[in-house]
């Protein structure tokens, strides 16, 4: 059983290494095949043929950040849903009530966000 566990994760590691080796190998092989003539014109930033005005590392709207925050909160919530769902057979009704309370509190958060119009994308 312990062998099974370690072998499983060895395969996962092999997949990660292989996934890393393919792009590195292909890009290195490509280096010998492709032309390399970087002139200044080619290396300009593309903006549909216009000269770019100003940099692009600008300040973004705060709504993106709120979405990311909502995402983190609900991500944590879903992580709790998984062990609950797996163990549900052996826990029964009490666990259902517990989870209902947990989710209700977070749904209140969602409704609050909804009412405050942070879910609007304008």
């Amino acid at each position: 059983m312990a062998d099974l566990y370690s072998n499983n994760y060895l395969i996962v590691a092999i997949f990660f290494i292989l996934g890393l080796a393919l792009p590195i190998g292909a890009l290195t092989a490509g280096r010998f095949l492709r032309p390399n003539n970087p002139i200044a014109e080619k290396r300009t930033t593309y903006e549909s043929g216009m000269e770019p005005i100003g940099g692009s590392w600008v300040q973004f709207n705060v709504k993106y950040y709120i979405y990311a925050l909502l995402f983190v909160v609900f991500d944590v919530e879903t992580i709790f849903l998984y062990p609950w769902a797996v163990a549900y057979d052996q826990l029964g009704l009490f666990a259902l009530v517990e989870m209902l309370i947990f989710v209700t509190l977070l749904v209140i958060g969602l409704i609050y966000a909804w009412k405050k119009k942070v879910l609007e994308w304008d």
Binding site: L18, Y67, A68, A87, L96
Partner: protein, 333 residues
């Protein structure tokens, strides 16, 4: 595969694992090559065109030629770009897309790592790709890229929540996160999960389309407004790896849908059981891939604001309802 997994690790078994992974990589690359060809043919067929016909018989070598072209193309890194991150980003995007395949079983005997947390592993690791495309977008230092990358990331994170939650219903019915267990449970119930979990299935399909950023959710690429979003400045093989990651996810997502909702390698009727499981898997898998392409040829693109509202205001509450209805029914029945 199971008997090798149970053995203590030696050079022999290690070599078998490595070789099987290389074989899968070959299969996936072959799949991607012909999925792109097939997609162009299907879309062409729907729109009354021929699609590629010139390169090789029936245009079969079209994608091969495209890949060779990308390999021979000059690698341009914009002067204003942030070079280290620009180089690293395609790697961050591609590696997880291949690593997630480690947990997929294709039949009861043809599988790789048989993880106890298989389904969760797939979802968790696939989330890292968002980081890759966001880094690529920022590193390119291009306005189209960064707007596209931010939009893409916002879309990905908004639809990841319904995607994860829609699977909880299935977990409730199975009591396991292992993908082989999930398929075996469907055999035991004599019913594929898309029937009892029809709401979850619907949410999963919509959210998975958004995660794959395919039509109608391809605002990420939006060639007409954002010039391919986070990939604007990428060319040659770096661009190829972003595209490759996208198609490898098509492979992964079609497999996951097949396994979780469409019964994996199970035959639709008992008397068809003499046909080997892998054939059924491939049939269902191909149907899912065709379905993605069919949608692309049929649907218009969704607007960015509608997209976000659909994710948070419709799919998220619905998936919560699905979870509690499933749990309650399980308690009552």
């Amino acid at each position: 595969m199971s008997q090798f997994l149970a053995q203590p690790l030696g050079w022999g078994t290690g070599l078998i694992f490595a070789l099987s992974a290389v074989v899968l990589l070959g299969v996936v690359l072959g799949f991607v090559t012909y999925a792109i060809y097939f997609e162009r043919k299907v879309v062409g067929w729907v729109q009354f065109r021929h699609g590629p016909t010139r390169t090789g018989p029936l245009g079969l070598l079209q994608t091969v030629a495209d890949v060779l072209k990308l390999l021979l193309k000059e690698d341009i890194i914009p002067a204003l770009a942030d070079k280290p991150l620009f180089v690293l980003a395609p790697l961050i995007a591609f590696v997880p897309s291949f690593a997630v395949l480690a947990t997929l079983p294709f039949t009861e005997s043809i599988h790789f790592a048989d993880l106890g947390i298989g389904l969760l592993y797939y979802i968790a690791v696939s989330g890292i790709t968002t980081l890759g495309s966001l880094c690529g977008a920022w590193a390119a230092n291009n306005k189209y890229s960064i707007i596209g990358g931010m939009r893409a990331a916002a879309q990905m994170i908004s639809y990841e929540i319904p995607l994860i939650m829609s699977l909880v219903g299935v977990i409730l019915m199975t009591g396991s996160l292992n993908l082989i267990d999930i398929v075996n449970k469907q055999a035991e119930m004599g019913m594929w999960f898309f029937i009892p979990q029809i709401l979850g299935f619907g949410i999963f399909i919509i959210a998975s389309l958004a995660e794959l950023s395919r039509t109608p959710f391809d605002i990420v690429e939006a060639e007409s407004e954002l010039v391919a979003g986070h990939m604007t400045e990428y060319s040659g093989f770096r661009y190829a790896f972003f595209m490759l990651a996208e198609y490898v996810y098509v492979f992964g997502m079609a497999s996951i849908t097949t396994l979780v909702f469409l019964g994996g390698w199970l035959p639709p009727f008992e008397f068809l059981g003499f046909i080997p499981g892998i054939v059924w898997f491939i049939l269902k898998f191909s149907f899912m891939v065709f379905f993605y392409m069919w949608l692309r040829a049929t649907f218009p693109r969704m607007r960015a604001d509608q997209l976000m509202q659909l994710g948070w205001k419709v799919l998220l509450p619905l998936s919560l309802v699905n979870i509690f209805v499933t749990a309650l029914l399980k308690e009552l029945l």
